[in-house]
């Protein structure tokens, strides 16, 4: 299975994602933002970081970089595109997924483990996963997902909500919402479910010695689904 991780100036989880993808069997290539063409891929990942310093709006500069046109075309033709953290912010800026990501409610960067509940397993990312609640890791300053009422209705109607922040038992309540996201949303799909944007970093949870191993479960399942 072939994957590509895009490196933007200021990306800083690109290596971590490369390590994770390779660990679970992907043949991964790093792709420079200024390239025109995507290599042949089964999965494209926009990694976390601070692309272009996030000095304008998070992800907005990166969404206009050269390679993104190929990524958008790839997504529109049904290819799997996953944006993690800053990658999610970039996806939102391209319009591939709806909504925006605002600054965290308490105006502070937050780095910790969280639980997320899967809402929809009818997609290449979560199909066949034998767990409904995963322990992931977040590290962001702008992860407060927001969309209009109409958009919210639409993404609900289309089952586009991928994961919610919850507790270890799967309870989706305000107190388990780390950043103020509307309806505790931690990740969403596009309508067709081939594009996934989420704030948590599964690539930081791939080893018992790290923060946990639910990332391993996610990646193992993902590659099996793509095969």
């Amino acid at each position: 299975m072939k994957s590509s991780v895009i490196t933007f100036p200021g990306s800083n989880c690109d290596r971590d994602m490369d390590v994770a993808l390779k660990k679970f069997g992907f043949n991964n290539k790093m792709v420079w933002h200024d390239d025109n063409e995507l290599p042949k891929s089964d999965l494209v990942v926009l990694p976390g970081g601070f692309s272009y310093g996030d000095y304008l709006r998070c992800g907005s500069m990166a969404s206009k970089s050269k390679i993104m046109q190929s990524v958008i075309n790839f997504a529109k033709s049904g290819g799997l595109v996953m944006g993690i953290c800053n990658g999610f912010q970039i996806l939102v800026e391209t319009g591939l997924v709806p909504g925006v990501l605002l600054r965290n409610k308490y105006l502070e960067f937050i780095c910790k483990n969280v639980f997320v509940k899967l809402d929809n397993k009818e997609n290449a990312y979560f199909k066949n996963l034998n767990k409904d609640i995963l322990e992931f890791h977040i590290a962001h300053n702008e992860g407060n997902y927001f969309c209009t009422k109409d958009q919210l209705k639409e993404i609900k109607d289309n089952n586009q909500i991928a994961i919610y922040y919850c507790n270890s038992e799967g309870k989706i309540e305000d107190q388990y919402n780390p950043n103020g996201s509307i309806k505790n949303i931690a990740g969403i799909f596009n309508k067709e479910k081939n594009v996934l944007g989420m704030m948590p970093h599964p690539e930081r949870m791939i080893d018992q010695s790290l923060s946990g191993e639910d990332g391993s479960i996610f990646f193992k399942n993902l590659i099996n689904n793509i095969k």
Partner: protein, 729 residues
């Protein structure tokens, strides 16, 4: 502008220093030259008050590849790998502008590390604030934490450990010390020594602006009520550019183009160019019109003294300019050939085809002033006699509650949750443990690092305090199963021109030297920050020690959380009941006098090495050193982190209960062992003549002390975790 003595004084130079400059030059310097002298001869750059004493520190060892004198120290961690590390202060700017001050402190120390070819793999910090009641404290704390996070998070380097304290002596002078560790191959280390004639001198990174002019001079002066006016001397950080600079430099370093490289830190282009020339015993010629400037009409004086961030100076091999330029173009960074190395042994600056400065390099460096300042020796204070009736009146649970929720003990999670501590995917021990630990990427090894300071002990008796900080750093590394290798120190003191403050410095350094020599724990890098005082009031002497150690097999790393019910907890090291200068004495008895606990270096070494031996044999399930707050605080933290209880029965020790539980005797650890291993463990400890006793047995929940005091885990957690978030909300 014609230079005279008054202008020199305005630059922070002393009258006799100015005279010396005129003598050495055999003429009056022009304004640019005067600026250069003031930048090179201030305390921050020249170490004029401290050099004499720093020379006495042990800096060599089998594992030391590079000691002090370079951008950072380097140690050998085997298999061809090396760790580059250093700690540095950014105190003055952080008080004036906490966000930018702290951010650029972090940026500066990371640059020191990657200048040597190492990729930064971990950040740490030691931050000290005034009393929580002081009106500025909350905003300073918030600003500093945001600044550290803002820079480190963007760079994608995990912040893995730190230390925070509050003390009214920092009311007018907070301390922000930042430390970075980088990983490099032993045969790919880069140095700042220029070599060869007519080699191109390259400027890369950000453009030069008017920010930070005289930053280093500002950092070499005391504060007064006009401090707000100094805001323009604080640099502004751009972590995004630094991330690009990091990647571009490492890309260039992978080849063989670089002869020497030096970051532009304090005193910017001035100190970087002079340092490279001085180390190479060469001259350097710079055309200032070639320096990329952010603002128009910058004068030579401004260009030379700007402390704009994210800049590097490189001496390249001839003919490599194009290769280098291509890399910096790719990363969208400025690149300019601004000069060349010469055999004149002068620094020569040109601007608009005119020579604007010409100074022999050795005058600036070797002839810089060095002072043997007067200092006062401090006596060991007399022990306090604390009445047993006073102690007997106290209830253990009440005391524990107060001590555990004390601002200097309580959980600092509110702070470290704002730092990305997991990026790079190798953090195996997060902040909140005895040391932070990161794996050496792609290997079975891990590196542990800790940063410590004990200002109160140093204040009570500087010599003992100096020893204690080094010993504590050593213990924190041992507690996670790391073999301690070397330290870096950041020496934060008041004015060296005052005998008391200078005495504190001299004796703390002496203590640090004694301990690091005895423990074979050499000092490989560091920095001195004097003049941490407002008007006449100086801070408590605060040397921060950053320790680094190696864990050969990261799976053998130890953490402090209690692991298994029915396991035993042993106290290693002797509890004598030393209460003076303990957190208990200061916060509960309001007793500020008396000597700090004695540091017995033989015991430190023996106890520590014995623990490492036990860890290596797999007997230790969890471990924690006993430090601030004493025994009961240490075991409480282990209970909280492991979510387990403990049944404590105080041994038939004659010491009063309160003294037993809250004394801060040194050289002690708590270790968790399996019942079946007890015999073997005690045998090893006895053989090494290490004092040990049983503290108690691990239970499901509740801490039960001597069958009469019960504290639930939830109570412990609330004492420990509530103070800081509540204070900040």
């Amino acid at each position: 502008m014609k230079v005279n003595e008054q202008i020199a004084l305005d630059h922070g130079l002393k009258s006799d220093e100015y005279k010396k400059i005129c003598q050495l030059l055999k003429r009056t310097p022009n304004i640019t030259e005067l600026g250069i002298f003031s930048a090179m001869w201030n305390e921050h750059c020249s170490y004029k008050s401290s050099r004499l004493h720093l020379k006495k520190l042990p800096t060599k060892g089998k594992k030391v590849i590079q000691g002090p004198g370079e951008n950072a120290g380097v140690i050998d961690i085997e298999d061809g790998d090396a760790i580059v590390f250093k700690i540095e202060s950014h105190n003055h700017p952080s008080f004036i502008e906490p966000y930018q001050g702290a951010a650029t402190g972090v940026g500066g120390i990371m640059r020191d590390v990657f200048t040597m070819g190492a990729r930064p793999i971990a950040n740490l910090n030691s931050i000290h604030f005034g009393s929580p009641q002081h009106k500025k404290t909350k905003n300073l704390l918030r600003g500093v934490v945001h600044g550290i996070g803002g820079y480190g998070n963007c760079m994608g380097v995990p912040t893995i450990a730190g230390q925070t304290s509050f003390d009214s002596s920092y009311n007018g002078n907070i301390l922000v010390n930042a430390m970075t560790l980088g990983l490099v191959k032993k045969n790919k280390i880069f140095y700042s020594k220029a070599a060869g004639l007519n080699k191109p001198v390259i400027y890369v990174g950000s453009k030069t602006g008017r920010d930070g002019i005289h930053g280093a001079s500002m950092a070499s002066a005391s504060f007064d009520e006009k401090i707000e006016e100094k805001k323009p001397t604080v640099q502004v950080g751009d972590p995004f550019t630094e991330k690009l600079l990091l990647e571009a430099c490492l890309e260039l370093m992978a080849g063989d183009s670089i002869i020497a490289i030096q970051d532009m830190g304090a005193a910017g282009l001035t100190s970087s160019s002079i340092e490279m020339a001085s180390k190479g015993n060469l001259g350097i010629e710079i055309n200032l019109n070639k320096v990329p400037c952010r603002e128009t009409k910058m004068t030579p004086y401004e260009i030379m003294l700007s402390e704009s961030q994210e800049r590097m100076l490189i001496v390249l091999e001839n003919g490599k300019e194009e290769i280098a330029k291509k890399i910096f173009d790719k990363w969208n960074l400025d690149f300019a050939v601004i000069g060349k190395t010469t055999n004149s042994k002068n620094i020569e600056l040109f601007f608009n085809q005119e020579q604007v400065a010409k100074i022999p390099v050795n005058i600036l460096v070797e002839n810089s002033p060095m002072y043997d300042r007067k200092w006062k020796k401090s006596k060991l204070p007399k022990k306090n006699k604390i009445k047993k009736e006073v102690l007997n009146k106290l209830k253990i649970k009440d005391v524990l509650k107060k001590v555990l929720s004390n601002q200097n003990i309580c959980s600092k999670e509110w702070i470290w949750q704002q730092y990305d501590h997991t990026v790079m995917g190798d953090t195996i021990q997060k902040p909140g443990g005895d040391s932070g630990v990161v794996r050496v990427h792609g290997t079975n090894k891990a590196v542990a690092a800790s940063v410590d300071s004990s200002a109160v002990y140093c204040w009570a008796h500087p010599l003992t305090g100096g020893k204690q900080v080094v010993a504590e750093s050593w213990r924190n590394l041992i507690s996670v199963g790391a073999k301690p290798i070397a330290i870096t120190n950041c020496l934060n003191f008041g004015s060296p021109e005052k005998e008391d403050n200078m005495g504190e410095f001299v004796e703390c350094v002496k203590g640090i030297g004694e301990a690091s020599k005895y423990l074979n724990f050499p000092v490989v890098s560091g920095n001195v920050s004097f003049y941490n005082q407002t008007k006449e009031v100086g801070i408590k002497p605060t040397p921060s020690i950053g320790g680094v150690g190696l864990i050969k097999d990261y799976k053998k790393m130890i953490s402090m959380d209690l692991k298994e019910i029915d396991n035993l907890v042993l106290i290693v090291g002797k509890t004598e009941g030393h209460i003076d200068q303990s957190l208990f004495a200061r916060s509960i008895l309001d007793e500020k006098n008396g000597p700090p606990p004695e540091v017995n270096l033989f015991n430190e070494k023996n106890n520590g090495e014995s623990i490492l031996n036990l860890i290596d044999r797999g007997y230790v399930k969890s471990a924690h050193d006993i430090s601030l707050g004493g025994l009961l605080v240490a075991i409480s933290k282990m209970c909280i982190k492991g979510n387990k209880g403990i049944k404590i029965s105080k041994s038939k020790n004659l010491i009063n209960e309160i003294e037993y539980f809250f004394a801060e005797d040194q050289g002690r650890y708590l270790i968790e062992v399996n019942k079946e291993d007890l015999k073997e463990v005690t045998k090893i400890l006895d053989k090494n003549s290490v004092h040990h006793e049983e503290l108690g047995i691990i239970t499901q929940n509740d801490m039960i002390i001597n069958e009469k005091t019960k504290v639930t885990i939830d109570e412990l957690k609330s004492y420990y975790t509530n103070w800081l978030p509540k204070y900040m909300s």
